[in-house]
């Protein structure tokens, strides 16, 4: 029998259906692995082994009756931004201490309905604000990857650092994640995993703790492109409880993987050739272009002229929405309350103690850009930029099927390396934020290794609700890149 931890969802489903192993055995192997590894990696902030075994037992019962769902018996890690009924949900913020939602997010509900098993809640940057998973109230997540010949701890990226690290270290077969400016794709690139950010509106936001409502979108982190297709299949739905979710039928993404790439047109946005791009990123991108040529695709250069305004505009829109979304954490209703002099004193103490520095920074920025006298110059202007960015993509997508770019400007960096400089940290999102601003689907696929022995990812950007084509193109990279190295298991 192969090591159960190495299986993909597709392989595990086959093994479960063939009776090679039970859901209980499959789940147990993960629980054991988490027990030994999590102390070091800190990917999970809450382990739910009892619940996992209970769910696995039910999966076994259903499978015995021939009623297997799409994810029957598949053990998943859940980013702690998804509300889980009766299971502590904190967004990795001190301010949600002890919060147990009496409801289940639509995404996780969909997963459980498909037969999936919950292993626990995964670490993230506080309220998903960060690109290194260093802002979590529950401590940093350690990237399973290290540079060759170097023991320095690296960040797994963020904000879905726990999700990416857990999938990369085989502490779950797949994980849920969320992406507001790159929070699925950047950590996927940093950990050698596949990260899919669906079209805005494809996946319900109901029950997912909001960071920036017009940008937030949930998606999976997996080890294969096929698994990403399976996960999206289960996560996506039209939800009447979220008016921004779109009433378009969810296609069979796995079937769409079988389509042809030959004759497809791949756009290369010239504005993504930013100043100071490292040679190895440049080379990786070129490699990707060659792979698509080899697969029979046509390569054309496209222009997205407003790209350079995307990052500054993003850091206006996202904090503005966040400053309002996070107003509900006031100590009155749930979570942390720190007593103070009168109601204002209680507010001040609760929020001063409850939020970390990065969250405070963004609330301050957001409050500032929405203030009387500044609104037009910042928020309104940023929204105009956003419209232009969308128009750029609409125009370019008239001629191409998908676009190919690097996911990040660099491989994973060391812990503490950028946490002192917010601006440098924000630059991590330079290739990913445009996709959120335009509401498009984006996919990061492992494509190669850096000179220092770290994984690097390429990003594919698709048309709205065309995740099928995106995933199909993703498999070109996956297949061409071949068997990539795995992290050495130094943490066990």
């Amino acid at each position: 029998m192969p090591d159960l931890l190495d299986l993909s969802i597709a392989e595990a489903r086959e093994g479960l259906d063939n009776g090679d192993f039970s859901a209980k055995e499959y789940t147990e192997s993960h629980i054991k692995e988490i027990e030994s590894a999590n102390k070091t990696l800190n990917a999970y902030i809450l382990e739910t082994p009892e619940k996992a075994l209970e769910m696995a037992a039910k999966s076994d019962e259903r499978m015995a009756k021939g009623e297997a769902g799409l994810l029957e018996g598949i053990p998943l890690g859940i980013k702690d931004l998804f509300c889980t009924n009766g299971v502590r949900t904190t967004a990795c913020s001190h301010i949600l201490d002890g919060f147990e939602p009496p409801y289940e997010s639509t995404v996780t509900e969909n997963l459980w309905n498909a037969g999936a098993v919950m292993l626990g809640k995964l670490n993230l940057d506080e309220f998903a604000m960060g690109s290194s998973n260093e802002t979590s109230h529950y401590g940093e997540v350690i990237n399973p990857w290290r540079r060759e010949g170097d023991d320095a701890k690296l960040v797994p990226g963020g904000s879905s650092g726990g999700s990416a690290a857990a999938v990369a270290a085989h502490l779950c077969v797949a994980a849920t994640a969320t992406d507001t400016g790159g929070s699925i794709r950047q950590p996927a690139a940093f950990t050698g995993t596949v990260g899919l950010k669906p079209t805005y509106g494809r996946v319900s936001r109901w029950g997912t703790i909001a960071f920036a409502s017009s940008l937030d979108q949930a998606g999976p982190i997996t080890r294969t492109v096929e698994d990403a297709a399976i996960m999206l299949q289960a996560m996506a739905s039209h939800d009447e409880k979220d008016t921004t979710s779109v009433d378009i039928a969810v296609p069979d993404y796995r079937k769409e993987l079988a389509g042809k790439v030959k004759g497809m047109t791949i756009g290369i946005p010239k504005e993504y050739r930013v100043d100071g791009m490292s040679e190895e990123i440049e080379a990786l991108w070129q490699q990707g272009i060659e792979w698509f040529k080899d697969a029979g695709a046509k390569i054309v250069e496209v222009s997205l002229p407003h790209t350079k305004y995307a990052l500054p505009a993003y850091y206006i829109v996202a904090p503005a929405e966040a400053s309002s979304n996070l107003a509900r954490y006031d100590g009155v209703k749930y979570g942390l309350r720190v007593e103070g002099d009168g109601i204002d004193g209680m507010y001040e103490n609760t929020r001063a103690e409850g939020f970390g520095d990065e969250v405070k920074r963004r609330i301050l920025m957001g409050t500032y850009v929405l203030s009387a006298g500044y609104y037009d110059a910042y928020y309104l202007k940023a929204q105009k930029v956003r419209t232009r960015i969308k128009q750029d993509f609409d125009e370019a997508f008239k001629d191409v099927d998908v676009m190919l770019t690097p996911t990040t400007p660099s491989p994973a960096f060391a812990m503490g390396e950028k946490s002192g400089d917010p601006l440098e940290m924000y630059l991590n999102d330079i290739f990913t934020v445009t996709v959120n601003m335009a509401g498009l689907p984006g996919l990061s696929v492992p494509a190669g290794m850096s000179a220092s022995g770290l994984p690097l990812g390429l990003q594919l950007i698709g048309k709205p609700f065309d995740e099928g084509t995106l995933l199909k193109a993703g498999q070109v990279i996956e297949q061409a890149a071949g068997e990539l190295p795995k992290p050495t298991k130094w943490w066990a």
Partner: protein
């Protein structure tokens, strides 16, 4: 339209003109809240009607309640206003314990309803137009409770998220009378439409009152805003007090601060709540959880088609079809119930007579006894029966009043009562003549007197009525008397 000058106020240093604008918050009549499925029922134990969305639990999202949108459109149509096919919800951000989200979802830049007009019928018979600036939908806040614990305040979220229509007038009103008439008329229209119950004592309708004063013809003065005034009488008091306060300040050489005030019903005075410096910066921005509200003209037209007849149109019709005066018609249409009651009484009967009886006898009695049409012991059919008996000449006006009292106290069919109690008018001239002959024969002194002073004929009429228990037709009696007495 009454002349502009009649509203001026004489100060110590000359005339002042008052400028008033009102923002009326009207709770939308709907079963569930604006963005959640929780009940809107008034009362109930604290936090009985609170959904996860209302309590602003993490990850919860608002979903628009279409019924509230329809009610806002209906109201807009009733206010003769422009309906905006595109509108948008914005967030108004501020911290308060009764505001669980930390923001109110409202419509700031693009309201659902635009400009319109409300026509006021003033007591002197004139009309006065008050412009509507806009109407928008927004969430109500909850309620803080300070009397539950010695050290803590509590919050009740039952009202949190209930739909409100904020109806903003133009600064067209010039006196507290205008303002009171405006709120009264607005409430009538909302009640006709069934879009707000208008119960101010339950907080279903309340007004923010903006007041400023200026010298006639000059630029607008600095205004103050008195928040949440919850009765029509208080609105009048708050304005009158605020006008005199502002005039006093200005005449003493002071300036008016742009501030937010509270009205204290106990003292009848306004007091400062916060100054302009302390004013919130609400940081409005489009609510990213909601799509813009868009519908087509056909949607509006369908709602317009099903609109009930409104007071202004109804008044016109009453005047035209029933020949009523502007004043009487105005009284009858002041509520849907009273207009419907009147029409049921008047149907197929003498409408003028019906109008007099409904307004004077019926409403008078209701008022005296503190009852409403819904709880009246006399139905429209019964009152109609009385009217019919009067019209046919079966009973006199005086007997009719007695009959009304009987029906009010004891109930029953008026015609049957008249029959059973022998209340029918005596129209047999022979019988009346006999009675008159007898009276003339027995009272020679009075016969002498009336020849010199013809108005003394009243005494004879009285005697006849006494003997017939009021059933004789006074006209017939008068005629015979004049003939017999040679007047």
């Amino acid at each position: 339209m009454s002349s502009e000058n009649s509203h001026l106020i004489k100060g110590a240093t000359g005339d002042w003109e008052v400028v008033i604008g009102l923002e009326v918050h009207a709770q939308v009549t709907s079963n569930s809240k604006l963005f959640s499925g929780a009940s809107t029922e008034f009362g109930g134990a604290a936090n009985d009607h609170v959904s996860l969305v209302d309590a602003a639990m993490p990850g919860m999202l608002p979903v628009i309640n279409e019924e509230c949108v329809k009610q806002a459109i209906r109201t807009g149509l009733g206010l003769k206003s422009e309906i905006n096919l595109f509108s948008r919800f914005d967030r108004k951000n501020y911290f308060y314990p009764d505001l669980p989200q930390g923001y109110q979802i409202s419509q700031f830049q693009y309201p659902i309803v635009g400009e319109g007009v409300v026509v006021l019928d003033m007591k002197d018979g004139s009309t006065f137009n008050v412009g509507i600036e806009r109407l928008h939908l927004e969430q109500d806040a909850g309620k803080s409770m300070h009397d539950q614990h010695p050290d803590y305040s509590y919050v009740d979220f039952n009202r949190t998220g209930v739909a409100l229509m904020e109806i903003v007038s133009k600064p067209d009103m010039r006196s507290s009378e205008h303002a009171k008439a405006y709120v009264t008329k607005l409430r009538t229209i909302l009640r006709y439409l069934g879009t707000c119950d208008g119960n101010m004592d339950q907080g279903s309708m309340r007004a923010d009152v903006n007041v400023s004063v200026r010298r006639p013809g000059e630029e607008l003065g600095t205004r103050t805003e008195t928040k949440n005034v919850n009765s029509i009488r208080f609105i009048g008091q708050a304005i009158d007090h605020e006008v005199m306060r502002q005039i006093d300040v200005l005449e003493d050489g002071g300036t008016i601060d742009q501030e937010t005030l509270l009205f204290d019903p106990k003292t009848g005075k306004t007091r400062s709540m916060r100054s302009k410096e302390e004013a919130h910066d609400y940081r409005y921005f489009p609510c990213p959880d909601l799509l813009p509200l868009e519908f087509d003209q056909a949607y509006v037209d369908t709602l317009a088609k099903d609109l009930p007849e409104l007071p202004d149109e109804k008044k016109e019709r009453f005047m035209k079809d029933y020949g009523l005066s502007n004043y009487d018609a105005g009284i009858l249409v002041s509520s849907r119930a009273s207009s419907e009651f009147f029409e049921n009484v008047a149907k197929g009967r003498d409408a003028k007579l019906a109008s007099n009886w409904v307004i004077n006898e019926f409403f008078g009695r209701l008022n005296k006894e503190g009852l409403e049409i819904g709880t009246s012991p006399v139905s429209a059919d019964q009152l109609g029966g009385i009217i019919e008996l009067i019209s046919k000449g079966d009973i006199s006006g005086k007997i009719a009043k007695d009959l009304f009292d009987i029906v009010w106290e004891e109930g029953g069919d008026p015609a049957q009562i008249v029959e059973d109690r022998d209340m029918k008018a005596v129209t047999d001239t022979g019988a009346i003549e006999a009675i008159i002959d007898e009276i003339i024969a027995n009272n020679p002194k009075q016969v002498e007197g009336v020849k010199e002073k013809p108005q003394l004929v009243g005494w004879f009429v009285g005697q006849v009525m006494k003997q017939t228990q009021g059933k004789a037709d006074p006209k017939v009696v008068n005629g015979i008397l004049k003939e017999k007495l040679g007047l």
